[in-house]
Structures are given as C-alpha cells and as structure tokens.
Amino acid sequence: MLQLDIGDALDYVKQSFGGSPDVIVRILQLGSHPGVRMAVVHIDGLTDKGKINEFVAQSLLLAPSEEELRSMDNQGGVLEVVLKRTSTVGDAKACGDWNFIMHALLSGDIVILLDGSGEAIVADLRKFEGRAVAEPTTEVTVRGPKDSFIESIDANIALVRRRLKSVNLWLETFAIGRISKTDVAILYIHGVADNLLVQEVRNRLTDIKIEAIQGSGNIEELIRDQTFTPFPTVFNTERPDMAVANLLEGRVAVIVDGTPFILIAPTNFSQFFKTTEDYYQRFDFGFFMRIIRYFSFFVTLLLPSSYIALTTFHHEMIPTVLVINLLAQREGIPFPAFFEAMLMEAAFEIMREAGVRMPRAVGQAVSIVGAIVLGSAAVEAGVVTAMMVIIVSLTGIASFATPGIALSNAVRMIRFPMMLLASTFGFYGLMMGMIFLVAHMTSLKSFGVPYLYPFSPYDPWRQKDTIWRSPLKTARTRPDLTMKQGTARGDSERERHET
C-alpha cells in the first residue's frame, strides 16, 4: 500500500531520488467540487514528452462524464476511472508496491499517483532513443543482410521477431545487477531448444550476483562454464541472421540491454569458423571458405613456432637451396630466431592494439608506418630477417580470417607459449603443446556440450555442417547440437551420440 495522502507520497518519491531535478511531477485535478487530486510523475529524458502532454491534455484533464462521476463515488472508483482513461496509451496497470513503481519509473514509465487511493497507475510512455539499425561493424559479409543489432533491447528483440514469425519464439526477461537493474532477455524457440538447457541458462542468470552489468561481456563471464581458459565458451554475434540461425539449431540467445552483441549458448569450437555467409554462397564455395579459415587458424597458432623449430632444431628438413638462403639472411642478425620472432610478434601486437585504440583519423597513418616503414627498415637495419617479417605478417593476416574474434584472440595469446616450447624443444615441444591444448579443449564444456563436439566425441552424423557445408537440400534433420533432452548437464543421454 502506498501513502493515502498524495502529499506524503510525493514527498516519499522526492526523498528517494534525493531531490534530483529530472524527476518531473505535475499535479492535476480530476473533476471539480470536490474533485480528486492526482500527480503525474516521470523522469525527464526517459519518457516521450510530447506524448505525455498529449495524453494529459486529451485523457486526464477532460471533465468527468455523468457516468464517471457516479462511479467515482464508489470505493476505489477513482482508480478505475483513471485506469480506464489511461488505457488509451496502452499497457497501463495499477500497482501498490513502491519497489515496482520505482523500477518502472526508472525504466521510463509514467506513474500517476491518486489522492486517497492506496495504488498508483503505471503506464508505458517510454521514449525510444538510440542509434538506428546500421551495418554490422565486426562481422561483415559480402552477400547477406546488412543489418545489425543495436544497443536497445526492444529493437534487438524486434529484429529477431521480424525474421521468425512464430508464436514459439519465447522470451523471458530478467533484471540483473543490484544497482543497475539491467534488462536481460533470454530468447529461444519453444520445442526446438532443450528445456533443460533453457532452465540451465535461466538458473545461471538468476544466480548472478553483481552490482551492475555494463555489457554482454559481463554476463558472458558470469555464466560461462570454466573461468580459467583462454577459449570462449559462449558465442556472441551482432548479426540478427546469425542469431536466428542459432535459435533454429536449438540454442538460447541472451540479449543484454545496452549492448549490440548478443550471447548465444551453448557453443563449440567449430562454431567460431562459421559465418552466415557460408549458407548464402554456393555450398562448395562455403566449404572452400571454411577450409581456408581452419587453415589460417593453424597458421596463426603454429607458423611462427614452426619456423623457430625448423631454423633452430631441424635444418635438415628445409630444402637445401632454401636453407642456404636463410642462413645467408641470418648471418648478420644478432638475435636467435626465438628472440627475433618475439620482437616482431610483439611489434605486431603493439601496432594492432594501437590501431584499435587510435582515433579513426590517424589510424591509417599507424598502419602505413607500422606495416611498411617499420618492417622494411627493420630488415635493412639488419635487426630481423626478411623471412621473419613474412612469417609475422602472414600470421597476423591469418589471425583475422577466423570469424569468431573471441577464438582468434585466444589463439593470439597461445602462440607465444607455443613459440617458447618450439625454441626449447623443437617439434617435440610443439607436439606436446598441441596435445596439451587438445586435451584442454576436450575438457571444456559449454552448457554441458563438449567443446570439441562433434570432432571429439566424434559424431559422424554431425559432420555435414562442421568443416564440410552440405547443400541445403540435404540438410533435412536439425543439427543436434544441444545433444537432446536431458543432456544440458548430465551425461546419460550423450552416449547415444558417441560412437
């Protein structure tokens, strides 16, 4: 119950907000002799001012009709009359709980307090203010839709709904963050997404204890399975078509207000090599592109370290003519191959980081100076070999060919320990590093789904959309990614899929 006296109620509101001037209160009178006093409260900037003025003038300030006057005499009749009038703006409800009212106020609703009534009316007059839907900035395609998610959660949900006109597209919302109360929505297709998976996502979201959520990255960190791993176990995308494709495969999307990147779970290793473009292009070309991506993944991971291993331990493997050439190059270089590689890789990482943080206008200058001038000058000065510049540039370029940036970042980090292993143990060190890495990845899970699935546990029926992209006509069955009911956590059902 709220305070019966409207003055007390308004005092309470003002006190709660510490007298912040953006809390706007308008006191009105409904009817005369004696009439009822009421107050319209809203927060400046979150609500649509034009609409409020219109609404107040056209709905609230009208003189009450005979019928209304009669019903106003009844117990609680005033509330009923005002509620009926408020209905013209849509989505209005009566409420007697200050917590709820405050949350609504902060979300951009207007609140109508009535004198002598224990309840207030909450109505949605939110202003939709934000960026217009634009082209995706991180996941670019040549052929395919050019829209991307934006910061507003409502607009993002609408982008998905527009593509899936199904009543089975279900939505649940949460407010996460003790202070920020950020709107977070989970989205899934009922009947396609595994119920236990949805329950698991729900549980992990409600278990979150934090003061504020700034972006979907925070949520990702708080709901993922393992914390101590460089590999991403939650997928994120800014493309609505990608989100829809994943929902259709039975995954759950988590949309966080204020972030254009939505989260998708569960995920696995092979997903980071897929783009929606694979399906917009011919299937054989899609397959070709995927091979290129996997190949460049291994280039990023292993090229510098293999080069170090070859030049430090296994000269005999290099063809004779080339080895003579390489040795001639290395003659004046003061550093061992490992140090040389570290120097260049570090320089590359610095350029890359600077390129991201730089103001746009000078970004180009950095890349030109970095790539061309620095590289060739280093070779001419005899600090590094030309071969090393080639290796490092190729590694750098290859790292951009992985569509999933989160995975590409992981690999960027892992290549440094790989280089160290290669310089101490040659190919043996590399092999051990790779075994370690694969074992680590097989031990990872994303919402109960093994990370390397379907490579390991190997599932022959799922191979038609991992590296190989089969023609759409043959894709009759839904990829069983979430490994069916009962497997979000347990292992019992999974056996069915293993061979």
């Binding site: 331990f313 296994h314 005999e316 493997m317 063809p319 004779t320 003519v321 143990f425 040659g426 190919f427 043996y428 060190g429 092999m431 051990m432 075994i435 370690f436 694969v438 074992a439 680590h440 097989t442 031990s443 093994p450 390397l452 490579f455 390991s456 546990p457 190997y458 292992d491 056996e495 293993e498 061979t499």
Partner: protein, 365 residues
C-alpha cells in the same frame, strides 16, 4: 573408479594408438630378418587370443578393473598383494615407454637436450590429461587417432612416390624356415605390444556399450597388428634387411630416404611426430592403469590425488632404469620374456582358469 564413460570409438582409438606406440618405430620382430612381418602376424594371432582372455575376465566382472577382481577371484590375501604388484608393473611399463620416447627424441632430433627435461615435459602433459580424467584422455585420443592416420598415409605415400620401395628385398619368404619366426614371435612380437594390452583390463569397465566396444576393440587390435606388420615389411623393403636389422629406429631411417625433386626430403619429422603421439598415449594408458590400480587397492576416493605423485615416480624410474640406451634395450628384451610374460600372459590365464573353476563350483552345489 571415476564417474566417467568412454564410447566404443574412443576405446578403439586408444587401443590403436597404444598398439602403434613405440612398436611402430623400433625394430619390432627384426630378429626374424626378412620375415619380421610374419612374426608380427603370428604375434597378432596370439594377441587376439590373449585379448579374448582379458575380455572374458571383463565379461565376468564388468564393473571391476583387474586389480579388484584379482581379490574376488583369489581372495584378499593373495589378491591384494598381486594387485599391488600390478600397480608396480604398470608404473614400470610407463617408465619404460617414457624412456623409449625420450631416447628416441634425443638420438634423433634433440641431441643437446638433457633426457630428464624431455621426459619431464612428457610426464607433465600426461599428468595434466589424466588429472582431467579418462574421458578427456579418450577424447584426445580420438583427435590424435585421426592425426596419426593422416601422418601414416602421408609417409607411406611419400615413400611410394620417392620410388625407394623394393619388394624383392622381402623375398624369399621363410628363407631359414619357421624356427626363427616362431622364436621371434615367442620372445618378442607376442609380448610387445600385445601382452601390454593388459592395461586395458583397467579401462574396460568404463565402456558405455560393452558388446559393441569389445567387437570394435578386437577389430582395432587386428587392424593395428596389420599396420605394424605392414610397416615392418615396408622398412625392410626400403632399407634391406641388413640396414633395417642394425638400425635402432628403422622407420625413422626409411622415411628419411624420402626425396622428391630435392624439395620434399628428410621427412623424419613425420616419424618423430608419430612416435611422440603413440608414445604419449602408451605412457598415458600405462600411467592411468597405475593410478587407477593404486586408487583401487588403497581405496582412495579421488584418483586425481595420485596422478602427480605417481607421475613423479614414473619420471624417476625412467631416468634410473638404465645407464644408456643399449642397456635399456637389452633390459627390455629380458623384461619382455620375464616381467611382461608373467603379468601380461601367465597371471591373466591363471586368473581366467581360476574364475572358471570358481564359477563351476558355484553352479554345482
């Protein structure tokens, strides 16, 4: 026992990698000279029978590893010490394979690196994987099974294209009659690697579909034996029996002869990679069997607590087991005829017999 399950495909991958392990690169069966491949085939036949014994024991005790059904069959007073001996045997096996791998690496590519460093990296990685559990080991095996197949196909293709294979070097078959073949089979190619399969008695209880798993396991064993026999024949066809017989690692030598247009040459690294993968899984399976056995006989709740201590023991044993490589090989030949024969063949067959008698006694009141 861990709460884990492995699928038939994963078991098969483990069996294949285990069998390839070190057997692929060392001079297996070459005491039978040109008929090494035949000796391996005979060994395989024996190995299949032996695996049948292991499987039969597993069928009678589907929920128990070897170390616990010895206690059921022979009673606590004989069974428990025997279980302990098996743990020691597994540790010894792991140490031997670790040493094999380290020695090969040192003699082929890492001649400046101290052995203990090479072994430490291997045992650390193995320990990490086992710490994550048998499921992770089995899934990792699945990936490296594919890698091994690719490496094998590639090396054979390169050898074939280089034109160094001469089938005539394998002829005539049975030049000196059957006796050297049978002697080699009995003293070497039966125990190694087939009697070592005793490790899998510790893993079989994890199978999620026993019937299919055993069938697939048998088939993989057969396929692995055929591959070993093939590669042994290949070594001789490439190098000739003299060189192959004297080489410590004939496969390494054979593949190093690859030369295509002076561009693709010295592909030894493919063999080294094969060895690293195979050796890794062989050490890992022995190591896991030891951890599993110790967990079982000492009734420890979490196998992870034993992983690193046992790893440390394996590392030290592998370092002090022999002063140099020749000694290691000599000891190996002796151990094959004694330790491996006893633990891999004699005891399991005795157990098998005892289990049958026990069953017969139970049924006739």
């Amino acid at each position: 026992m861990e709460k884990a399950k492995i699928s038939p495909g994963q078991l098969a991958a483990l069996i294949f990698l285990f069998e390839m392990g070190t057997a692929l690169v060392v001079s297996l069966g070459l005491k039978a000279e040109k008929d090494a491949w035949l000796a391996i085939l005979l060994g395989l036949a024996g190995g299949m029978g032996l695996f049948g014994v292991y499987v039969s024991l597993y069928r009678q005790f589907p929920d128990h590893p070897l170390t616990s059904y010895v206690r059921i069959i022979l009673g606590r007073w004989i069974g428990w010490p025997l279980g302990l001996l098996y743990v020691l045997f597994f540790i010894y096996g792991a140490a031997r394979d670790l040493r094999d791998g380290a020695d090969l690496l040192i003699s082929s590519v890492l001649d400046q690196t101290p052995m203990i460093a090479v072994s430490s990296i291997m045992i650390l990685t193995t320990g990490y994987v086992l710490h994550k559990g048998i499921e992770v080991l089995a899934r990792t095996a699945q990936i490296y099974f594919a890698v091994l197949i690719i490496l094998g196909v590639l090396s054979n293709f390169l050898l074939a294209v280089s034109g160094v294979i001469d089938i005539d070097r394998l002829l005539p078959v049975l030049e000196k009659g059957w006796s050297p073949v049978i002697r080699t089979t009995l003293t070497q190619s039966f125990e190694f690697p087939f009697a070592e399969m005793i490790c899998f008695t510790m893993l079989l209880p994890y199978l999620n579909r026993p019937a299919k798993g055993i069938k697939l396991g048998m088939m993989t064993l057969l396929a692995g034996g055929l591959v070993l026999s093939f590669s042994s024949a290949m070594d001789i066809a490439v190098l000739g029996v003299d060189i192959a017989g004297r080489a410590t690692f004939p496969l390494l030598m054979a593949v190093s002869l690859v030369n295509i247009k002076e561009f693709i040459q010295r592909m030894d690294v493919l063999v080294v990679m094969t060895l690293i993968i195979g050796d890794f899984f062989k050490v890992a399976v022995f190591y896991y069997a030891a951890v599993q056995g110790a967990t079982d006989i000492f009734r420890i709740r979490d196998h992870r607590r034993l992983v690193y201590p046992i790893g440390l023991i394996i590392l030290f044993i592998s370092a002090i087991i022999a002063a140099n490589f020749s000694e290691h090989i000599e000891e190996g030949n002796f151990a094959l005829m004694t330790v491996f024969l006893l633990f891999g063949v004699v005891i399991p067959i005795v157990l098998w017999g005892a289990a049958w008698i026990r069953k017969a006694l139970r049924q006739s009141p």
